[in-house]
Symmetry: D2
Subunit: 360 residues, 4 copies
């Protein structure tokens, strides 16, 4: 929730709206945007059921800091493409996000979405600024005159991909085995009943396996000849819900393309630096990867808030009897894996000047 | 805790002692042996610190049924090889189990151990009766005149191996990737502080990875020419502690040696029958594997007690992008993975007549 | 879930229906009635949304034993007063229970309800068989020709009242201060989101305070001159939801009317015997109160299942600086506090012959 | 962990030592003192077992932010009264605190203790700066030439007393009934085993009831004629451990001496202002009491960090059937209830000039 010191590109804060503002991810958007140096919340949108109430009335607030006082009394509006704001952050449920986001883009909003619906569209960037900021350019191919749609990956994918990126760059990656331990907040709010999660774990999450097995290929793909060419690797995922509030852990085993010693792999992770440093984006963590050689690292309660929730924690690398190496990765699922990711995407969009181009 | 109806082979219940009776696994031994049709608890042994107190005084009881009334008042004794009992169930800590178990065997006790110390000794059977009951014969090579040592595997290993067994028999297995979610009770008592496990998981368990990567090779190995020849497969494990009381989950991905369709694999698991059926052992579950095609199966709270805690639950088999197939396995770590396993081993020992041979 | 051996009064099992069969309490009814020696489940009713599906399809099952196989495939029906069964166990939501239960009673069903709607009606018995079985006679004043309505108290009330009863009988009670720690399952299913209960407690439960402050007065009241005269005492309650699956704890401080030493009070609780012993009701626990002088007694995980979930656990009595004495009470909220309570009420109804009178 | 802007009284930061630095409260001292504007950690002391190791090696760190980098490598020392520092913050276990703290005071340290040993000594202030800062003067009666001992109350007491203070001042208080729900960290580290707290609560905490029933009388007592005269009220407490990391909840029912309407009581709490405002102490929260009329307020996860963990949250006041009023109180047990309390006491000591007097 702390931002790097930075002033908005053109001196004034950009008005934004939040679509689906009352859910778990919507709340995280509100918490982070309420104090954002570049953006100001101009409107809050949610379902018909919530519209007309104040944000406080409409929301079962589950953040650990209070509702920002200047937001609590704002009236929630329906998701219609005439609400104040030029960027529309979308925390919409996938049952409605597909069409609504297109409508907003058609009406000139820069839609910065956390929903899964458009992630795999060929002309929509699926973006992690530290990983594939060049994919952003594909929005020029979108059919919208003034608006656009950009997306961030699934909450589990983002940590995995950020840890894979330096290894892909240095050694190439052929195979990835993933098993996740995912936090309750990843299911939204109310999400999982406490009757299901006290003294229990659940070995399935609807649709999650497919997302983890496909999204990284686009994220780590190459943008050339006007298209994103998916990375050439195979990923297999198993997923679990665990009784943790926030923070998804991924246990990763992988096979590299080039030979690399354990020490090579560790150093590639430890030495990794953000390619965004010069852009001075408020949400970008100084070091995107936090590594440790302590075998008990990382743990959700203790490390999910590293870098204001935007850094990814990577445990010690050890040899694997089946593939080459194995290690654990942790990221904050509603920050780095959702609202924080989208806000960072919007910051990149603003910095890239594409937003101002779009709005002309 | 329910036993199959059965009467002791020779009409009288066999006196047994429990070494390390006050810890988490020791308590599970007490709970299950107190009502066992073949065995009766003749003495309870623990550290010097506990000796002299009643069992109730000496024990921080964490079972969910009360201390059996006839046991609560028994005096705890030191672990000396003159305590009443002809079988010595060992729940000793590995820091002392090695020597103590040998001393008991030398003094004519049949030591049925849950400790890791002697598991990999060439002349000690590492036993899962449904899997490798023929390995029991190796005790004839032990140097003890009247006693012996037999062991059961690590609490995570047992569920994994029982699920692998029918697949190994039918298709052969080349590679196994495992990631575990392990319950708090697996760390003993007091074990893990609640400061560590509320809203948290831990990506390491001391020594666990090595056990999961090696013990299955001996368990699934072949006994011929007087020796156990380890199975020819490679296993890679990652482990996690999760805030669950009892029940270890293993997420498994594997590569078979022969071609098999998904349906072939499912049916191999579903059709698997216990080779022990005719022995009528009291602790043996009717069906050792409980399978379901429900993706939310199995879950620790709901399924750990299947078959009185002695059955292993196996979730749906799906294709894997990296190896061949993947599925989840659940077993009760202090029952099937510890005390129940040892008691079943003792039942096999009794039924096999080896015990009476030893005692002559 | 274990019943005392007993055969049905007239040799055949009585057909029953369950209204609201898919919720948390409805599931507990199913679990317990599926193996009941006197009753057999003839139909299962739920909302329109569930009707037409099998019970397994319609239900998010949260019991720790599997759905009884003979029930899993039964078709769920709408709650219309023509479903098979002569007793209708009601686990209906209070938003619909009021009218529906009356309709069932009008159509000749003996409605045995866990819902709050009719509890305080002057001609409806609010019943704990060990406490006020004579109140049952008031059903003769009900307007139904063949049917009737009887109710059990709120899930927190039952444990409190059972612990108060022997003290009221011996010493009189003037004042009662209660603070509860209530389990997640008390909120139904899905009930409380895990986003609310991981690493948290909640200091309110809708409507609960009023129930705890009023229901005991009727329960402990006197039935004379054709009416129930409420007990003359004052109760004050504070309530909390805690991250426990099952088992409500009440911390009680009370002021007696007669002088009593601490030992007097302890012995009154310890010596308390069930007035139901001679009736041989299958669900009645042998000893309704389980007492201990261990200050760490009782605890939900370890003691909620005492007496098959039907016994109430009472901790040590100590002097109170403000009132006279204080102690803690634990009861299983969906067994003794809901489904088990209703089933015991039905058993009393059957045994009392009132059911057969009603049905003539 | 955020401090109010403030500069040290005399321009330089005061060197301090922490006794018992590796435990749960000791860690909280380290976390808060590492960035304190007035104090700097000059040494860290713990048991012989830890001495000689770096702080990182010696500590099972359970704070949710990393060990401060400048502290991690400091060598832990034995608790001998020659370690650098003029203030000695004591998080010692009560088994050793009594004598050790006296030794440190004799050697000229201002001992600011969280241990219970000296709390009730007639010449030792038991201090909550917002409540009884005048009690500080009693240290002049201590036998030490240059040193002194001051103490803060038990972790549960502090929230209770801060909520009672404005009501005592306005209406007088006669009787107080308390029932607590206390967090795991209150038992220290490792403290309570997760085998005890998953899906469970515990109705006892060693020695806690007596502390809650006696400490408030001294805290709310009057300092006159050179002695503290305890407040004239009676308190009765029942305590519970619950599966929450941090944050103790107290359910309070009380009887006032003067008549007061519900609204009078609410306003007394809401209008309460810190008497410390003018002192500008870095750890003092702006508003010591945070009130709300929302019945679901306060909750540990959501409100324990109010005022940097130093504010006390008070829920809505409602009439009580037995005494006069009831409400719930929440405070952070290792901050306001331990390390933060002691640091605030030290700030008061520094500001009061008593420290410099002592050191002359």
């Amino acid at each position: 929730m702390r931002y790097r010191p930075s002033s908005p590109p053109d001196g004034g804060r950009i008005p934004v709206t939040i679509l689906g503002a009352t859910g778990a991810v919507g709340q995280r958007f509100v918490e982070r945007l309420a104090r954002h140096p570049w953006f100001r919340i101009a409107s809050l949108c949610a379902s018909n059921r919530s519209a007309g109430n104040t944000y406080q009335q409409a929301t079962d607030w589950i953040m650990d800091s209070p509702i920002p006082p200047n937001i609590a009394g704002m009236q929630v509006r329906e998701c219609t493409p005439d609400v104040p704001g030029s960027i529309a952050f979308s925390a919409l449920d996938s049952s409605v996000a597909g069409e609504l986001e297109e409508t907003f883009a058609e009406n000139g909003y820069a839609v910065v979405s956390n929903a899964r619906n458009h992630r795999m569209d060929p002309d929509v960037p699926l973006l992690i600024p530290e990983v594939n900021s060049d994919h952003l350019r594909i929005i020029r191919q979108q059919r919208y005159e003034a608006g656009c749609i950009i997306t961030n990956p699934n909450c589990s994918t983002v940590g995995i991909v950020m840890a894979l990126k330096p290894l892909l760059d240095k050694f190439g990656i052929e195979l990835v085995d993933v098993t996740t331990l995912q936090a309750a907040s990843g299911a939204g709010n109310p999400g999982v009943s406490s009757n299901r999660l006290i003294d229990n774990t659940i070995p399935t999450i609807d649709g999650e396996t497919a997302k983890i097995e496909t999204e990284p290929l686009k994220l780590l793909g190459e943008f050339r000849d006007g298209a994103i060419h998916p990375a050439d690797m195979r990923i297999s995922a198993q997923v679990n819900r665990v009784p943790v509030r926030d923070g998804h852990t991924a246990n990763i085993k992988l096979k590299l393309r080039a030979h690399a010693s354990p020490e090579d792999v560790r150093q590639a992770l430890e030495a990794y630096e953000s390619p965004l440093a010069s852009l001075n984006l408020p949400s970008a963590p100084g070091r995107p990867l936090r590594t440790s050689r302590d075998p008990s690292f990382p743990q959700p309660y203790f490390h999910r808030n590293a870098g204001g929730g935007m850094a990814v924690s990577v445990g010690p690398v050890t040899p694997c009897n089946v593939l080459d190496y194995k290690f654990a990765v942790l990221s904050h699922n509603t920050v780095r894996g959702a609202a924080g990711a989208a806000i960072l995407n919007a910051e990149l969009l603003v910095r890239s000047k594409l937003l101002s181009l779009l709005r002309q």
